[in-house]
């Protein structure tokens, strides 16, 4: 006889097995009978625990209980004797708080209904929840609509709940269609739940409309606004990280608001065009999405494969992120006002280990000794001959001060965020008004970002045949930042390289710079630098961005299922940069200072009109759409810059006083697109779906001969679990296979690239500004669209009422006609021509596993694993498959694009080690080479900056009113290039260096050392050989605890007394810990100094230190 386990346990068992996580253990149990007799030897000392023990020994019953409900130590009264199990159970638990239920071969003990909170007006009702076969549904949620209050059904499918008459109860359980019942006079309700036929009613947002999720043939991942906003990041992109499978987000900057995170969907597939996805917010394309208020977002849908993205044709190749923002109330009439607020405290999460003052001096002395031994020098080894500046050194040559510049340049930052949502709905209209104020401080002094944002949405159905929708958003962000790109002497660099024995101020009260030790700087010749605090105080770089974004739409309901929608949207940005740098900033802007203004205005508009038809004909479901679109973008830019200030009084407020103004600059550009698109989706019997899309795009950016291009796609889906032969396999709730193939394009290049442009400007000739001009680009009238052909094969598998879900898709994307700055022989006078040549392949898997390993009355554990594996390979480049070298810096190019290789390849020499004394003795090197780097003579690929694997593992646990989120994020199969090794190892003596100089470098006794012997870089010294090599590169994989959040939701009944309908408090920690290679010596392996250069990921000279943030927040609903 097959032993049946309770449904709940079966689910758990398999779930847990699959997750390889052990929470429960399942006991093996022999056959038993319902009326088995038991003979217990009690005595008065019987506890529940003992009772269970004895019953289990004598029968084959097993007890199941939660320690929260049942205390095994609790005493019970049972009389000895030979009785049936049931008799004993009645005896044992009558009059206690425990009740029992037989469930096959298990006896489930639970607490008797604990709803003791007296509610004067409410009455107690009984709800029994069963499925279509009459089996009780255990663990279903019975909630009072509009509140957090409710209960969970027990093992009998029963639940008691106190409600006010007229309230609406929502009964829901994963895998079943949610039911609502209106509470009337009856006190007992039976709810028959029907299985949710494979998400049949779930709807997802697709391009130009929505579709039933079941009908979708493409790969789409969904992230909910409320999940994303938990982390309280400044940018919506940082919030999205880890929430959607196949979307890799590189949060390269820890600085609020200044540098956007990079988003890459399914790998890099372009070289000279943009790799950013297209952001479509409420149907309107938006740029600078990173500045948008994340609190306004209802949900984000990521369209990844061609079947989903091809409807966006020429702008879809990098994937499309569909953003739906909040609007008025949807499901009920009334008003809801809510407030979300948080306060955060941030600190530097990790320090770089640099030499302290004394170690600096020790390392310097060691360098002198090395030079005497190997370089034929005869330096004095007496400290007092060197450390002579009595302002900073004592009479024995030991430093007086010891400054930790990282501590000086950073701070404990306080941030807060406030969001008010007012949502309302009437019979024919609804309205939402949203206000946000965010003030986020960066952990480096004087860096911050603020946002003031207001959004208003109004939806109405004025007549039967017309619906209207208006959405308007005004978003102003402003802030002060410190640069994170390039190799200059900015604060993020000097906070590491500044000499540790200098104090913050000199004896006159002025900031110290590298020239402060006047006496010593003559012999030492320190690298010119200002101390980081000075830079952060005296250099102001401000951004002011104002965005107006909105749309108005009319939907005409022409006939049943046939709608015509016309929507006009705009996205306007006014961006201003203002900078001033002091006349005193050594090696930055001394002696002249500079002031800089740059204004960019962007106006984008689109008008789209489309017809949709959605209709069921028996078992046929047809969803069709056809439309047209016009888009135009205009940009103005102007900049003024001057130097020549005599002091810092005016800053950037009176640029006229600068004596050496640069000539003003400005530019104008425009592009436009005109498109026609259609989609035809057909589903038969809710099992077989096909989608065909097509879009014709015309763009002004392309050559006269190739303005228009066609982007088709086709997709098929088969919901196998709907088939009759699958009906009996109860473990499988959903099984869907889908595949698609299609073409998308990439037109995100600057306009005018098909033309032979003439660059023009002015420079010095005959002692005045004179005009110059020359033909700066080669014409290519054949310039056309970059095309990506993508094949996608996916499977959705839902097991055990969808408590365990797999969403896995494989993709193979081949991009051809690459819009490439194709190298030409430089003897032509040009370096490249913009051409359609070259090809790139991205192949990989998106994997999402979602599970609810545990769900009891009080405790739920939801776990989601997101993974993306991507393999990127360049197939073809230029006429001769020439290498394209990029990111030139110390040692030349440090990145390379080479056929057969990953696009993010690092390029440098290989470090074999250092030349040793033994090498010298064997005649392999000169004496003065001893201790210097032993490298290959040619460069090779020494790593890559984009990971093979990116992923996240997000767990949400709730126990009673508590909820806990553990959000882990990781990358694997990636390297990081520590460009700061160049100064911190090889330029020691004129700067500070890493602690490991002192401990790990070659000293004559450690022939396996990789680090060069200390040779000082100061004036008259031997100096170090420095160039980009493999020593700079280390494993860039990491595991980060992105967020840990503990929340508490107050009981509805309690809060009602205060006129509040919902209250949640939470505390969270962001970036709680980071596990990465021990060879990594920077702040965070995920960073870049290359700005938004798409080939600069994980190439970091110095980065803004990452913060660890603790947040306290409140979500309040009235």
């Amino acid at each position: 006889m097959k032993k049946e386990e309770p449904k709940l346990l079966k689910i758990m068992k398999i779930t847990l097995f699959l997750l390889s996580t052990c929470v429960f253990s399942i006991f093996a149990a022999p056959v038993t009978s319902q009326n088995a007799r038991v003979n217990l030897n009690s005595g008065n000392g019987m506890t529940i625990g003992k009772f269970i023990d004895q019953v289990e020994k004598q029968t084959n019953y097993l007890f199941v209980y939660s320690k929260n409900d049942v205390d095994p130590g609790e005493r019970i009264n049972v009389k000895s004797g030979n009785k049936s199990v049931a008799q004993y159970l009645d005896e044992a638990f009558d009059g206690t708080k425990v009740k029992y239920v037989f469930e096959n071969d298990y006896i489930v003990l639970t607490k008797k209904s604990a709803l003791t909170t007296a509610q004067n007006l409410a009455k107690k009702i009984f709800v029994k929840v069963v499925d279509q076969s009459g089996e009780p549904v255990i663990g279903a949620s019975v909630a009072i609509k509009g509140s957090k209050e409710g209960g969970i059904t027990d093992t009998g499918g029963n639940c008691y709940i106190y409600v006010n008459p007229g309230a609406v109860l929502q009964v829901s359980f994963i895998g079943y269609v949610t039911k609502e019942i209106v509470v009337g006079n009856v006190t007992s309700y039976k709810v028959v739940m029907s299985e949710d036929n494979k998400m049949l009613n779930e709807v997802v947002v697709v391009g130009y409309g929505t579709m039933r999720k079941s009908d979708v043939t493409g790969s789409i991942s969904v992230a909910k606004g409320e999940d994303m906003v938990k982390a309280q990041n400044f940018s919506a992109l940082d919030n999205l990280r880890g929430k959607a499978s196949g979307v890799s987000i590189f949060s390269n900057s820890g600085q609020p608001g200044a540098y956007a995170s990079r988003v890459v969907i399914r790998g890099l597939a372009t070289i000279n065009s943009s790799s950013n996805p297209l952001y479509v917010v409420d149907g309107v394309v938006m740029e600078d999405f990173s500045l948008v208020n994340p609190n306004d977002i209802e949900s984000m849908e990521v369209l990844k494969d061609a079947s989903a993205t091809a409807i966006y044709g020429a702008r879809g190749a990098n994937g499309v992120i569909m953003v739906t923002t909040k609007r008025g109330l949807k499901d009920a009439e009334g008003t809801r006002i809510s407030y979300q607020g948080s306060l955060s405290i941030s600190n530097i999460a990790r320090h770089m280990k640099v030499l302290n003052a004394e170690e600096w001096c020790d390392a310097f002395m060691k360098g002198l000794q090395n030079e005497n031994t190997y370089q034929g020098k005869s330096w004095s080894l007496n400290r007092t001959d060197w450390f002579t500046d009595t302002d900073y050194f004592d009479s024995k040559g030991y430093p007086i001060y010891n400054t930790n510049w990282q501590d000086e340049a950073t701070r404990t930052a306080f941030s807060h965020n406030h969001q008010i949502n007012i949502q309302q709905a009437g019979k024919t209209s609804s309205m939402g008004a949203f206000l946000n104020y965010t003030d986020q401080e960066g952990i480096m002094q004087n860096t911050w970002s603020k946002r003031l944002s207001a959004k208003m949405a109004y939806d109405a159905n004025p007549t039967k045949w017309l619906s209207t929708a208006i959405n308007l958003m005004i978003n102003h962000t402003w802030g002060r930042y410190t640069p994170e790109t390039g190799g200059g002497q900015d604060a993020r660099r000097t906070m590491i390289e500044m000499l540790p024995w200098l104090p913050l101020y000199d004896k006159n009260g002025d900031y110290t710079t590298s020239t402060s030790p006047t006496v010593m700087s003559k012999t030492f010749g320190f690298e010119g630098m200002s101390n980081p605090v000075m830079i952060l105080n005296l250099q102001k770089r401000m951004n002011y961005n104002t965005q107006l974004f909105g749309n108005a739409a009319f939907t005409f309901h022409l006939m049943q299922g046939l709608d015509l929608k016309t929507q006009m949207g705009i996205d306007y940005h006014s961006k201003q940069y203002r900078g001033y740098s002091s006349v005193n900033l050594n090696n930055i802007s001394m002696p002249n200072g500079w002031a800089d203004y740059a204004n960019t205005n962007v106006l984008y508009w689109q008008e789209e009109t489309y017809l949709t038809y959605d209709k069921y004909f028996g078992e046929n479901h047809l969803n069709a759409m056809a439309g047209l679109s016009w888009q135009e973008r205009r940009q103005n830019y102007d900049e003024s810059y001057t130097e020549g200030f005599s002091d810092d009084f005016y800053e950037d407020n009176n640029m006229g006083v600068g004596t050496t103004p640069s000539s003003p600059s400005s530019s104008w550009s425009r592009w436009a697109m005109n498109s026609y698109f259609l989609r035809f989706a057909y589903t038969y019997k809710d099992r077989y779906s096909a989608t065909v899309t097509g879009r014709v795009d015309g763009s002004s950016k392309f050559g006269e001969n190739n303005k228009y291009a066609f982007f088709p796609s086709a997709g098929l889906a088969w919901i196998i679990s709907q088939e009759n032969f699958m009906k009996n396999i109860s473990a499988i709730s959903t099984l869907k296979l889908h595949t698609s193939y299609g073409l998308t394009g990439n037109s995100e290049i600057n306009p005018y690239q098909s033309l032979a442009n003439v660059s023009a400007g002015t420079y010095l000739l005959n002692a005045k500004r004179s005009a110059y001009s020359y033909v700066s680009s080669l014409a290519n009238p054949d310039l056309k669209w970059e095309k990506t052909a993508q094949w996608d094969l996916g499977i959705n598998l839902g097991l055990f009422q969808n408590r365990l879900n797999f969403d896995v898709s494989y993709y193979n994307k081949k991009t051809t006609n690459l819009l490439l700055d194709c190298p030409v022989p430089h003897s032509t006078g040009f370096t490249s021509i913009f051409k359609n040549i070259g090809s790139v392949r991205n192949q990989g898997m998106d994997i999402m596993v979602n599970a609810i390993p545990l769900r009891t009355k009080d405790f739920t554990w939801n776990s989601t694993l997101n993974l993306n594996y991507n393999k990127n390979k360049i197939l073809h480049l230029g006429e001769n498959d020439e290498d394209i070298e990029l990111n030139g810096w110390v040692g030349g190019s440090e990145s390379i694009l080479r056929v057969g290789e990953n696009m993010s390849s690092f390029y440098g020499y290989r470090r074999y080690g250092v030349w040793t004394k033994e090498d010298y003795q064997a005649g392999k090197c000169e004496l003065n080479q001893v201790g210097r780097a032993h490298r290959s003579t040619t460069k090779e690929i020494i790593g890559k900056g984009m990971p093979d694997w990116t992923g996240s593992w997000i767990n949400t646990l709730s126990y009673k009113n508590f909820d806990l989120t553990v959000d882990m994020q990781f990358v694997w199969g990636v390297e990081t290039m520590q460009q700061f090794y160049h100064p911190t190892y090889d330029r020691f003596g004129i700067t500070n260096g890493l602690k490991s100089i002192l401990h790990d470098s070659y000293d004559g006794t450690n022939p396996k050392a990789m680090e060069q012997m200390i040779y000082l870089c100061n004036n008259g010294h031997a100096g170090q050989d420095t160039t980009v090599d493999s020593r700079w590169v280390c494993d860039g994989s990491y595991l980060r605890c992105n967020m840990l959040q503990l929340g508490y939701t107050f009981d509805h009944s309690l809060m009602q007394k205060f006129g509040v309908s919902g209250l949640r408090l939470y505390a969270s920690a962001n970036n709680l810990f980071l596990i990465c290679s021990s060879k990594f010596q920077g702040f965070d392996p995920e960073s870049t100094s290359q700005g938004d250069n798409k080939f600069g990921q994980n190439m970091t000279f110095y980065s803004y230190p990452r913060a660890r943030t603790f947040t306290f927040g409140v979500n309040l609903t009235f």
Binding site: S514, E527, L755, L765, P825, G829, G892, G1020, G1023, T1027
Partner: protein
């Protein structure tokens, strides 16, 4: 109702369609395109103006980095007499000095990319100007002048390339689209020189017979003649060179700068600090507001100078002569005195802070600073180098003429007179030009020619002329370690440079960039260098 609605929508849709005929046209407003270019005199002028600050001239004049000088500093390092204090980072300097470029082709090849790219960029612009300006309707003289200037620059760029690389791709047609043949083979050196000579002869014929300063700082007949002289000398065509050298010497608009005193108002200090001297035949303009001279002023010291100036934060001796090189001067030569071409100690007049070159244990200086690069305004107040960079000056014309005459006609009074003028200016013992002329006339031809070579080493130590002379003469100057003023000449190939390395025949040229060889399959590598990565 519904019908009206639909009709309205369809009509408005049609209207949108019909009104969008030009919607996808491109009409850039902030840049011209080729179809509107080469139409006006102003465009022609602007186009030729581009050549003044791009390509070959910048290989000498561009001090864009605090840590390494313009490319022209590197050939000087092949002699071993000059070095960059920061060669641990600027490895191409180190490999040049140690003559190990061949084993480090990749590193060096990235360095020469700048030369190749810059010169060919200018050549293509010059080709465009030469081809298109004739079709512009404009004043005929102005037109001819602009074309001649373009030819001067085309020649200047090709000349620079041929000296660095030897045989190179030669092209006179501007590239405007991708259909043209871009895979050019290397042309014979003689063909390159042939084009250079033709271009320069036109330039000499057409361009105004004025000084550079009086010709709105545009290329003159004499600048072209100077370049042509250099070209002929490089080719060993001393007879042709004589013609053009004498054209400059006899110009009447150029002459030697005179010493006002033998200290701060010496000719050499004037050349260092004053623009538009009659001696200057061609220069790169710099000023403090539009185009500053970058880091030039900082090359005058070593790294320790950061402590005495508040205007620059990095100082490096990027082209520092060795003490042995300084033995090229006799000790009474004006040019070796402190603060003429070189200096060893310096006091900041604003602050009284002093700088001195590092000393050996015996109290002698380890090296000299390069006073010729000192720019008082830049270092003491503005932080912006503004002194023009002199490419050609009259002293060179004199030395060219002296040597060329001697090469072709022996030691004549004329030749001796020219050399004497240069020597007399540096003479601190009161000898007149006539005295020296007489002395020189007693020299044998070979000795006289060597005297000319030595004088070039003394007169242009910091102006990057030495390696060109080594190449054209095939001789390496062996400067005495001990005896001041003593120089002997040995065959260049086989000589030991001042860093102790032996000069090989493959050291005479630089490698073709490995990247360029990838892009152009017809290119071949110079002997001794790697041709693949």
């Amino acid at each position: 109702m519904k019908k009206i609605l639909i009709t309205a929508i369809v009509c408005s849709g049609l209207m949108i369609f019909s009104s969008c005929n030009n919607f996808l046209d491109e009409n850039p407003k902030s840049s011209l395109t080729l179809q509107d270019y080469y139409k006006t005199a102003a465009q022609a002028t602007a186009n030729v103006n581009y050549l003044y600050r791009n390509g070959a001239p910048t290989q000498y004049s561009n001090a864009g980095s605090a840590y390494v000088g313009p490319f022209a500093t590197l050939p000087g390092m092949l002699s071993g007499y000059f070095s960059n204090d920061y060669e641990g980072q600027e490895l191409a300097c180190k490999y040049s000095r140690l003559l190990t470029r061949q084993a480090n082709t990749m590193t060096v090849s990235e360095k020469v990319d700048g030369v190749w790219d810059g010169c060919y960029d200018a050549i293509n612009v010059a080709n465009g100007a030469i081809q298109n300006i004739p079709n512009i309707s404009m004043d005929a003289t102005a037109k001819a002048t602009l074309i001649a200037e373009a030819k001067f620059f085309r020649a200047f760029n090709y000349f620079y390339l041929v000296k660095v690389f030897g045989p190179i791709p030669l092209n006179q047609t501007p590239y405007i689209s991708s259909n043209q043949d871009m895979q050019l083979s290397r042309s014979a050196v003689a063909d390159v020189y042939s084009l250079i000579e033709t271009d320069l002869k036109t330039a000499v014929d057409v361009l105004p017979a004025k000084s550079f300063a009086n010709n709105n700082h545009r290329i003159t007949k004499y600048a072209a003649a100077m370049l042509l002289t250099s070209v002929y000398m490089q080719e060993g065509k001393y007879s042709d060179a004589t013609t053009y050298a004498k054209l400059v010497v006899g110009s009447g608009v150029h002459g030697l700068t005179k010493n006002t005193n033998m200290t701060d108002q010496s000719a050499y200090n004037k050349l260092r600090s004053t623009d538009d001297l009659d001696e200057v035949i061609y220069a790169q303009e710099f000023d403090s507001s539009i185009n500053s001279g970058g880091w030039w002023a900082t090359y005058a010291f070593d790294a320790s100078a950061t402590s005495i100036f508040g205007t620059y934060s990095i100082f490096q001796r990027v082209y520092g002569p060795s003490n042995r090189y300084l033995n090229v001067y006799t000790s009474d030569d004006l040019r070796i005195q402190n603060e003429q071409f070189f200096h060893w100690t310096y006091t900041n007049p604003n602050t009284g802070k002093t700088w001195a070159a590092a000393k050996n244990q015996d109290g002698s200086y380890q090296y000299a600073g390069c006073w010729y690069y000192y720019d008082a305004d830049a270092l003491l107040s503005t932080g912006k180098a503004s002194k023009d960079w002199n490419f050609f000056r009259y002293a060179e014309a004199l030395l060219d003429a002296a040597e060329c005459i001697a090469q072709t006609s022996g030691v004549t009074a004329e030749a001796a007179g020219y050399l004497a003028q240069v020597q007399a200016r540096a003479n601190t013992t009161g000898k007149s030009v006539a005295d020296i002329t007489t002395e020189l006339q007693s020299l044998q031809k070979e000795d006289f020619i060597e005297a000319c070579w030595t004088e070039r080493l003394r007169e242009f130590p910091l102006e990057f002329k030495m390696w060109d002379d080594c190449l054209r003469t095939g001789k390496f100057p062996v400067i005495s370690e001990t005896i001041k003023g003593s120089v002997t000449y040995v065959d260049l190939v086989g000589a030991t440079n001042a860093a102790g390395a032996t000069i090989k025949s493959s050291d005479l040229l630089w490698p073709v960039s490995l990247n360029e060889m990838q892009r152009n399959k017809k290119l071949t590598q110079n002997d001794g260098y790697a041709s693949k990565e």
